[in-house]
Symmetry: C2
Subunit: 261 residues, 2 copies
DNA sequence: CGATGTGAATAATTTCACAGCC
DNA sequence: GGCTGTGAAATTATTCACATCG
């Protein structure tokens, strides 16, 4: 689209596809590695390989940001690092609070990738009074009672929830009420939030289940005959219900008859 | 493609869209919760709400599995739990190894969601000799030297990498050589694997960066003064918007004049 | 030349809306 | 009457392929 008239910078960063946004951090990481090796320029082909995508996709992604390359040459590494950082909002400081300092929360607090790139762990919060004041990864844990104060005083807009699933929604509500507008949820629950608040989730169990799906399919498609090893297991049939209607239901595999329920 | 002449429908579980597969665990979780409350049936509307998606999507997703609902009524909870579990391959036992027992690896080992649903932590592996034999979450850590033996003897097909980024590829290569065909990668690196091996990644830093992107955009789009409750917060205005471009490169925001280059 | 940037083609996913069945 | 199941439309994402420019 010939931008012709700059109608208004209204079309600023507007319209960057979500799929592209999700890949920018990948490019940034690859570029940072190149930068550290003092590589001055890269081609879309090389960078794409380093980021694990194909070059057409990468070029298309970059085209949404602007024309930051040089035909016949490639991209200036430092320049791109800066542009992508800016686009992602990493040129500013983002204070983050982590709520729920159990094993996972503690691991997150100490995670290197956290501190890098403009994110700063502003506070660790836990409901256990015994934890209060105890330093984890060098940061003293504060009590949940002070959540609102911490969030508003530090201007925190990003919260990480690493609590048990049972309290995740309550914690989420409090964070949002206190002013947090982006949440990274590690608890295995669906959080409901008002419009304008973003939630992203990280769920171990879901990832494993997706892998299992593909794994199972692989086993079923092997030319010969086997399956790695599926020692007894068999999970759960289920409550009966008049099992067979006149018509067959699913593609195959009707349910076993009885189930523990 | 020798499509096994086994059953009649060559189209068995074939063709379940990836996006649908990724949501099945979500539905399963919601259904499991209903099951525990002994709810016998749910409508697509209710289940969709519990899973955080819209009902049309859910119905479409289920349509790829077969016709498991009853018009005018809804879905039988137990029946669906079983069908989805089977589709995901959760009716069999999946031994998993976790490599890299640092803070994160230890947290993963103890994570409840791990043990549930057919996944079993078969072994914890770490390169530090000082860790060997030490129990973490009740499971003794074994040394990396024995990786191949562990994987093949236990028939492990899923590996979790929680090592530092620098050794992730080496660990990955060894896992794959030993027979692992699905990998869940927590290290911030792109892993390269041969065809037939699935990799899924979980990256803290990437998720935060995506949130930051949206967060930044929100800050720039505030109409006047709204938002549920945004006390002092005020998410950092940062650099002024001055620069209007004539017809340069990017949409806006040229680099700070001098860049390392 | 060689590699970018991008329209156009294709594929995947989501949403609509309603016929069909309970 | 109510709710599923699903073609068809709409939207979003990926890939192709090549004109363009340094």
């Amino acid at each position: 689209m010939a931008t012709g008239r700059t109608h208004r910078p209204a079309t600023r960063s507007r319209g960057i596809p979500e799929a592209t946004v999700a890949r920018l951090p990948l490019y940034l990481r690859a570029l940072t590695a190149l930068s550290e090796r003092s590589v001055p320029t890269v081609s879309s082909e090389e960078l794409a390989a380093a980021a694990g995508v194909n070059s057409a996709k990468l070029r298309k992604d970059f085209s949404y940001l602007g024309s930051y390359g040089t035909r016949g040459v490639g991209y200036d590494v430092e320049y791109l690092v800066y542009q992508i950082s800016r686009e992602l909002g990493l040129t500013q400081d983002w204070p983050v609070v982590i709520v729920g300092i159990g094993n996972l929360g503690a691991a997150l607090a100490g995670y290197g990738g956290f501190a890098s790139r403009g994110f700063r762990v502003a506070a660790l919060i836990d409901a256990d009074p015994a934890m209060t004041g105890k330093p984890v990864a060098g940061i003293p844990v504060q009590h949940t009672d002070d959540l609102e104060k911490i969030v508003s005083e530090d201007g925190v807009s990003i919260g990480v929830i690493a609590t048990p699933a049972g309290v995740a929604q309550v914690v989420c509500d409090r964070l949002v009420a206190a002013g947090v507008t982006s949440i990274l949820n590690f608890a295995p629950t669906v959080l409901s939030v008002p419009d304008g608040v973003d939630v992203r989730k990280v769920d171990l169990s879901i990832e494993l289940q997706i892998l299992a799906f593909h794994e199972q399919r692989k086993a079923g498609e092997e030319p010969g005959a086997e399956a790695p090893e599926a020692p007894g297991a068999a999970a759960v049939p289920s409550a009966g219900r008049g099992a067979d209607e006149g018509e067959r239901k699913g593609p195959d595999g009707d349910m076993p008859a009885v189930m523990p329920a």
